[in-house]
Symmetry: C2
Subunit: 193 residues, 2 copies
DNA sequence: CCATCATCTTTACATTGTCAAGATACTTTG
DNA sequence: CAAAGTATCTTGACAATGTAAAGATGATGG
């Protein structure tokens, strides 16, 4: 394989390059041409793998979301009971983004968030972190033997999610140096009580 | 005043044009040159009023935030007691953005949100909507004669804000046609209980 | 009236997204 | 295995955009 003609896995390399740019210089600095240059390919090479810049950004978002979900998943698995799993999950939800505010801005900032976060009244939502939250919540309900109508469950779930997500949003967009014990001090109280 | 040389109030006209572009075509379509064209001035004319594109966007954000704050303020004034004022405020907080999701994306989406939303551990925050929330909350505390430590107050305030803001974020970024009774059904339960 | 300043225009340039045409390697098929 | 086809990559081009520089135009104060 001639070394500089066919790149090994350009698609993956472009995603990595994009993530690196976002981490180092923020979303505004992300350009197709720069990512291509970092992979030592011509400026039009990305078009063999992505229809346009949006498609690269979608791929990056999917990648980050997988990382996010797997961290949440690990947090849940480490908990003894479902209630503490819920709290741990909220804690890690916020912590993940507090540690990487640029990820939050990139994931939920831009225009095309459609594919990554959904909630409608039919209660349908395949956003992986939400699916995980829902599962954990249902275990929590079952474990505690609580009697809740579907409406109550939906409301409570949304509340949990909105609290964590809103907290992350406020933290990531505040422009303030967030002290790292911030979430430890607060999220436990807020997310469940 | 020669009609097309010195524009009457170009600064204001550019802000209006920018808002119109955002409303009609989203933030991605906002360009200095397009805004200038809508004001029938040359593409470099905006530089007499704004240092760069960011400064125009900041001005637009400030303008929208003023509108937002004044709607919240009106909602609070229409309430009988402080507790219902709190609920009404939350309802309007969400409703304002559900009605104008592009505003939410623009205000809290981009990179440079620093000046528009702040929260740090010293409890300092001059973001006007938050100031209003804080005032209303303090009245609510006083009215009910509740005894709360500063820490409890800070936590509760942050919780109120995060709930409303997170709800708005989820609604505006869901890509789902949000039914308009959505906030009526939910926010009251979530924001205070 | 003149100098100064704010406002606006014209020109120019670099960056970027995107397209088109062609070259090169890999894959499939006859 | 050779021919045909496909995926991948290059080069070249273009339009949109942000921005800087230099100059023109009108207002304003001494």
């Amino acid at each position: 394989m001639s070394d500089n003609y066919h790149h090994g896995d350009l698609r993956r390399a472009l995603i990595d390059a994009g993530i690196k740019i976002i981490n180092e210089s923020g979303e505004a600095a992300l350009s197709l041409r720069k990512a291509a240059a970092m992979c030592s390919v011509s400026h039009a090479a990305p078009y063999a793998h992505f229809k346009d810049k949006d498609e690269l950004m979608e791929a990056i978002k999917t990648h980050i979301t997988e990382q996010f979900t797997s961290e949440l998943s690990a947090a849940v698995k480490g908990s003894s009971d479902a209630e503490s799993a819920l709290v741990d999950m909220g804690r890690h939800y916020v912590a993940f983004f507090v540690r990487r505010p640029d990820y939050f801005k990139f994931l939920f900032g831009g225009q095309n968030i459609t594919a990554h976060i959904r909630f409608d009244k039919e209660y349908e939502n395949d956003y992986p972190p939400f699916v995980l939250l829902k599962e954990t919540y249902l275990e929590y309900i079952q474990e505690g033997g609580y009697e809740k109508t579907p409406e109550e469950q939906e409301t409570e779930l949304l509340k949990l999610w909105a609290s964590a997500h809103g907290l992350a949003a406020i933290a990531c967009m505040s422009g303030v140096e967030v002290p790292f014990d911030w979430e430890d001090k607060i999220s436990g109280d807020i997310l469940i009580r």
